[in-house]
Structure formats: C-alpha cells, structure tokens
C-alpha cells in the first residue's frame, strides 16, 4: 500500500531539523504571520496529506507482559478533523497516544503520519518536529519556568544544542508568544512561575505550549480533567476553533464535553475500535451501550 514509506521517512529523518528551521525562519521573516498561515506553510513542506488522512494506524498491537493493551487497532484521522475518542478505562486510549508519539513501539502494525512518515522509525523528539503535539493526561509544564519561558521553550525552532546557546527572540517570536498568551488567557500571568498556576491554567498553558510548536496534529489526553464547568466550556470552544487549522484528537471521559465538541466519535474497547461515527449514532449502538455508556 505504501511501498515508498520506509525510504522516504528515512530521508525525512535525516533532514528533519533543517527543513523545520527553514520553515520557522520563513515565518519569522513574514512578520505578523498568524499561526494558521504558518501552519499551512509548514504543512506543504513536511507532511504529505494529498490522499486526505493525516494519520493512519493499521493493525497496531502492543502487549505488556502478555496483556494486549492494543489489539489490531486500525484508525484513520483526516486532515483538519476533530476526532473524539472514548472508551472505558483500560481500552488502550493512552497507549494509542504513546504509539503515535513514539513513547511505545508497537509489536505489530504500522503507524504513518501523512503518506510518508513512518512513526515507528522516529524518536519522540523527531515526531514532535514532524508536527505531532501531545498534551498529557496530567498537566505537564515546566514548573520552575515562567509562563513566558514555557511558551518560549516549546516554540517551533531549530532545537539542536548549538542553536540553543545563542538563540534570541525575534520581534515576530514575541508577537506569537503574546498571541498565544492572549488565547490561553494567561497574558497577565506571563511572568508567573508555571508551578504556581491553578490546575485549569496549567492545562491551558500546556495547550498553549502545543500550539507554539505549530503542530499539524494535536493529541489531547483528557484536556478538561479537573477543570471547572466554566473552564470546560471555554476549552470546548478552543478545541472547536483549533479544528480545521490543526487535526485534533481528543481523548476524554467527560461526556458533556464530548457532546459539545463531537463530530466523529471513535469508541475503543479492549484495544481495538468498537464503533465509529457521529455522536448520536454511536450513542445508540447497543454494543457501545453495553461496554461503556450504559454503565
């Protein structure tokens, strides 16, 4: 199906850093270019989505000591789609994210980002460079750094050691940080240590950090866990506004939140896809009710 996959992705890996930096520089040159535009430009250069989908998982199996966390999981995410993934505890949702981001290697199956990038051959950092951003279940920010520095560190740039030593923030970089601060409603807290933020604010900061990476695909693992109703609503709006510019995959337990944002829903059960479709169809599926919704 993808005979060129391996070879092409190897090439991508070799020149990954330079390609990305060239794209990033381009963004800086163009001054006030918004994230959306920048994202599109990088998109053209790196990820081949000519056939529509941005993520293909095909027959992914992962076993831990004989327990099959993922069992022949096949899933396709379209470019620009907002996909919600639900499923009972232990259904394999987080393991799936681990496979996509390179933290866990699948025992069998293939994972492709676009047509050409074989995720199984890249490290976590290379996958992040290729354009996949991940928010963890537990908000993970740099607690000893200010909010500003958190965004600065996660900003799309050449992230090799020798570039980091003399790195300077250009005007356009500061503008992008300012825009993101505004978007995640932390503009007044830019100088505050991230460790001092509330739980909900940390969740938002982490989403802001992902956006600074200008990812093509965003993986959000329980983005509204521990949030107040008001914060949940605003996060839902944020997710909806991101779809289209980015492809977004949301894993969540909060059914109100899912109902608010859901277009396509995938239900995982025991490591593979149980049902897939619009929210109301999935909700009415007797198998889904049996394993998950009915309980």
């Amino acid at each position: 199906m993808r005979p060129l996959g391996g070879q092409r992705s190897g090439e991508c890996r070799k020149r990954g850093g330079t390609t990305v930096s060239a794209a990033a520089l381009h963004t800086v040159d163009s001054g006030s270019a918004g994230l959306a535009q920048a994202g599109m430009r990088i998109a053209g250069a790196d990820v081949d989505t000519t056939h529509g989908p941005i993520l293909y998982l095909d027959g992914i199996t992962v076993s831990f000591d004989g327990f099959r966390a993922l069992n022949g999981l096949s899933l396709t995410i379209d470019d620009g789609e907002l996909r919600c993934i639900i499923g009972p505890n232990g259904a394999g949702k987080t393991t799936m994210m681990d496979v996509i981001t390179g933290k866990t290697r699948p025992d069998a199956g293939t994972a492709f980002f676009g047509q050409t990038i074989d995720l199984a051959k890249l490290t976590e950092a290379e996958i992040a460079h290729a354009g996949i951003g991940r928010k963890f279940q537990k908000p993970t920010v740099f607690e000893q750094h200010s909010v500003f520095e958190n965004l600065e560190l996660s900003m799309k740039a050449d992230k090799r050691v020798r570039k980091a030593i003399g790195a300077r923030l250009a005007r356009a970089d500061l503008d992008r940080i300012a825009e993101t601060l505004e978007l995640i409603q932390l503009a007044d807290a830019a100088d505050r240590l991230a460790g001092l933020l509330s739980h909900g604010q940390k969740q938002w900061l982490e989403i802001g950090m992902l956006l600074m990476q200008e990812p093509r695909l965003l993986l959000l693992d329980e983005p509204v866990a521990g949030m107040t109703d008001d914060e949940t609503m605003r996060t839902a709006e944020l997710c909806l506004s991101l779809a289209g510019r980015h492809s977004v995959v949301v894993v969540e337990h909060d059914m109100d939140f899912i109902a608010r944002i859901a277009r396509q829903v995938t239900v995982l059960h025991e490591g593979s896809v149980l049902a897939e479709g619009p929210m109301d169809v999935v909700q009415a599926d007797p198998r889904v009710i049996e394993v998950y919704l009915g309980r």
């Binding site: 959306a36 976590e124 000893q144 992230k159 500061l174 825009e179 505004e182």
Partner: protein
C-alpha cells in the same frame, strides 16, 4: 489565531511584551566579579611576593597554596552544579575526571624531572623500580606541555562523552546513574592502583621538579599557578553563566523538571545532557591539571568514591543551581576541613556527614540561599 483577536489588541501586545532581560551578570554581580578578580589576580600575588614575611599584611605561602587548591575544588563544584543543579543529573564520579586531568598533567611533570630522580634515569623512578626499559606507548609525546594540556581536556572529555552517550541513550536516570558513576570511578581507582597500569601504582606521581622550565616550588611559580587557577575559575564562572542564561540553560532545567515534556516539545534530551555532561567533565579535568602542580602529588586516592561524594556535598552546602553557591560551598567546606583536620583529625568525617544532613534538612537552598534570604 489572529482571527480570535481584535487587531488593536494584537497591536497593543506587540508594544508591551518585551523579551525578558537575561544579563550575563547583574550590575552588582559584575562589581563583585571585578573585586574578586582584583583580589585574586593582583592583590594576593602582590602581598605574597612583594611584602616581607614579617609584614602584618603578608600573605603566607601556605595560604596561597591552600587558596589555590581550594579554587581548583571550586571549579569542580561549578562543574558539578552545571550537571546536578541545572540538568538534575547527580554524578558521584566527578572525582575521576578531576584525577584524569591531574594524571595527564602529572605525566608531563614526571617527564620534566629529567635525570634528577633517585635513580638518575630517563625514566621515572617507579618505572626503573619495575625494571621497565622504555616508556609505554601512551606516554608518548607527554614531554611536550601542549600535548599534555590537550590530554587534560581530551581524556576526561572523551571518556565522559562515550560513557554519557551510552548511559543517556539507555535513559539511565536518577540514583541508577549516580551508582554507575560511583562504580566507574571505583573501577578506575583499582586500575590505577596496579603498578602494571604504568601510572605509579598507589604512590602515583610526586617529587616534581619544574613546570615549563621553572622550578615548581619557587615563590614566583607558585603565584603564577595561583593566578592561572584564578583566571580559570573566573573564566569557568562566566562560561557557566553564559550557558545557564541562554536558552540552552533553560532547556537543561526543563529536562530536570519534566523530561518527557521536553522530548515531546521536539528537543532531544540526549544531546543536551551529553553536552553539559562532557563540558562538566572537561572543567573537572582542567581543575585537576591546575591542582597537581600546586599540591605536588597525584595518586589513585583522588578517584576514591568518597572524594566524588564530597564534591556533591560542596555543591549541596553552597546551594544547587546557583553557580556561585557551590563555589562558595567548596571554600566553606574545604576551609573548615583544613582547620578541622588539624584540630580534631578523627572527627572530620562525622562533621562532614552532620553538615550534609543539617544543610539538607534546614538549608535546602544552601548557604547562598541563607545569604540571599536575609537580604
């Protein structure tokens, strides 16, 4: 994302958000730096060389040698702070890199003895004693100072790079990494204790006569070594400050606090850790090379596990992640050590242990935290 903002808001932010100031040293820092540089590089040498020993302001040779020795330790503490305080990697093997730098310099110093040894041979006394006829291959060219100086940097640097590459690539962290570094220095100590290794066995190198042609015990040479150590210390401090105030430094602390997030941001922690780890080892090697001509001896006990643990104690006592703190810690602990080991020689290790416990319990930010907190 622009669309989410009314244009005037975006413009306003463009005006207000400024890049944070990250000076190499603060204004007060530069003032202190200048004063310390003046004292180390001008005042102490002048007071030692120009004033007669009877003068009340005369700085004695003992003090110059002791201070020079402690400055070498301060460089090591600084190197330790880069890797432990900033990158969060506790090495319990830094004494090894210090000793290797010392041995590299020691080889040159041994060759400089010439035929003035006990056996009046071209070979060092310990080789004559072992009935060796020629220098082993790894002693080649060590009679050239610049070659030895290169070894001072390369031997600790290459060893740290190779060891670090495999350790960090295997994602060995925390206490496991500390234990492996401790084992590494112990293994090298056993290796260097053997006479066959060719580094003088348990006696190591001593009885140096001259360095770069100058008699090693002469007052002028001693002061020159003191000044060289001062320059190295101040230079190392500026280098370390440059690193920790750059984005590189912020990535290092981010690795310390949330390594997985750093990876998913697109950084490769391996390269960052390897860089700072190797740099830290090289700094230790340079410190060791400056240490040996001043104290006049290097032997495998420098590689003993306890020595490396002491380095960590200086750093903790001074205050991790502050650079200046660990340097201060090296002075405080070693100053106390030279007094204590004369007054109550048998109790020093108890005192050191107690100090470490007290600092950990009551001064988590070290002596520097105490000083800064009071202001």
């Amino acid at each position: 994302m622009n669309a989410a903002l009314p244009p005037q808001v975006a413009t306003e932010f463009r005006r207000t958000l400024a890049a944070p100031e990250r000076p190499l040293l603060t204004r007060g820092g530069w003032a202190t730096f200048t004063v310390v540089a003046y004292v180390l590089l001008v005042l102490v040498p002048a007071l030692n060389l120009l004033l007669p020993a009877s003068h009340p302001l005369h700085v004695s040779d003992y003090v110059v040698t002791l201070a020079g020795k402690i400055m070498c330790y301060a460089i090591v503490a600084l190197a330790m702070d880069l890797i432990w305080g900033y990158a969060g990697i506790l090495s319990l093997g830094h004494g090894l890199f210090f000793a290797l730098g010392g041995y590299a310099m020691g080889m040159y110093l041994m060759r400089s003895i010439g035929r003035e040894g006990v056996y009046h041979s071209d070979l060092p006394d310990f080789m004559v004693f072992l009935d060796w006829k020629t220098y082993p291959w790894y002693w080649s060219f060590t009679d050239h100072f610049w070659y030895a100086a290169m070894l001072v940097v390369l031997v600790p640097g290459v060893l740290a790079f190779v060891f670090g590459y495999f350790a960090f690539r295997s994602r060995i962290k925390g206490v496991y990494f500390s234990i492996i570094t401790q084992a590494l220095t112990y293994a090298f100590m056993l290796l260097f204790f053997r006479n066959d290794t060719g580094f003088g066995g348990n006696n190591g190198f001593t009885d140096f006569k001259r360095i770069l042609g100058y008699p090693i015990a002469a007052p002028g040479t001693r002061v020159a070594l003191f000044v060289a150590t001062g320059v190295a210390l101040l230079g190392a401090l500026l280098l370390a400050r440059w690193i920790v105030t750059s984005k590189l430094g912020r990535v290092l602390t981010a690795i310390r606090d949330a390594e997985s997030r750093v990876m998913f941001c697109g950084y490769s922690p391996l390269h960052y850790k390897l860089f700072v780890w190797t740099l830290s080892a090289v700094l230790c090697g340079i410190a060791g090379a400056l240490y040996v001509p001043q104290v006049g001896i290097i032997n495998p006990s420098e590689m003993s596990p306890a020595n490396s643990i002491e380095i960590a104690i200086w750093t903790a006592v001074g205050g991790r992640g502050t650079l200046v703190g660990p340097m201060l810690g090296a002075f405080v602990v070693n100053g106390a050590k030279s007094w204590f080991t004369q007054a109550f020689p048998e109790y020093w290790l108890y005192f050191l242990g107690l100090l470490f416990i007290l600092v950990t319990l009551f001064l988590p930010r070290g002596v520097i935290g105490l000083l800064r907190g009071r202001r």
